[in-house]
Subunit: 137 residues, 2 copies
DNA sequence: ATGCAAATGCAACAATGTTGCGTTTGTTAA
DNA sequence: TTAACAAACGCAACATTGTTGCATTTGCAT
């Protein structure tokens, strides 16, 4: 709710650009691409946006994921993640029609058994198909 | 075994470049990045390699996946995929130490229950950790 | 109000991927 | 074997994405 507090807690200065970015991401379950955000904040410098997203990622405010087309996207971390290493191992859903990417925090991911010698540290599950809007259900 | 036949079956002409690429990929269960292959075949033009990999993907000879660092990689399709749409929904494992990516065809991926309205068409499961060589087991 | 570190804007660059086009090559059929 | 044609290739040019260095501005603590 109070983004200024959240930023200061993470040791980040409160700036208009940062407030804009966190507001947009926090008010959505969607993962935004860099160019999404770029066109949303056209007056903000490209590099500044890269740095804001990097800082937010390091601070555990957002997580970065790849969509089905190889575009990197950013979504808010709902449950606050420990700095640096995020628990962003929930499911992401990519709509083939509207190309939106959804964070599906509620879908349970079963534990997978690894072959001999392979030690798993985490996983990314990306499902593609048709979203609630596009499936025409 | 006979790559010339395999290429002709898919309507692709047999060229030295294509034979080189398919040989390397087929003799490994690793997924190679574009730059991996580029340095392996330094005399081949960059663009030609892009086009070969695209043609192989369309023909169902290889599948393209993103690794944990956002690098696109290519691996051979072991079970022949129907042209265009591949059944590349097996697990991929990315080693944090040596950065190799393994196709784990044998790991079973359980079916996930989607929320209301979301229709799943396929999934990518990417696990990261330490591989058999790097886990020191 | 002042000072300083942090954040920003800008330019330059690197890596990755795409497109157009002229040339070469693989395949088919005479 | 050769001739002809479509496909594949090499090269140049360009687009997009992401990174780095540096001078300037701004947030925040004193
Ligand atoms: Mn997410
Ligand atoms: Mn694979
Ligand atoms: Zn959709
Ligand atoms: Zn390894």
């Amino acid at each position: 709710m109070d983004y200024m507090l959240q930023l200061r807690e993470k040791g980040l200065k409160v700036t208009p650009s940062r407030l804009n970015v966190i507001k947009v991401l926090d008010s959505s379950h969607l993962a935004y691409s860099h160019s999404d955000l770029e066109s949303l904040f056209s007056k903000m410098d490209r590099v500044t946006l890269y740095r804001i997203l990097k800082d937010f990622e390091d601070a555990g405010i957002v997580h970065k994921i790849m969509d089905i087309d190889g575009v990197t996207r950013f979504a808010i971390c709902k449950s606050t993640c420990p700095d640096g290493h995020h628990t962003d191992d929930h499911v992401h859903f990519n709509c083939k029609a509207c190309h939106k990417m959804f964070c599906l925090e509620k879908v349970q991911v079963p534990h997978l058994k690894m072959p001999q010698g392979f030690k798993a540290m985490g996983l990314h599950t990306l499902i593609y198909g048709l979203c609630e809007n596009c499936s025409g259900a």
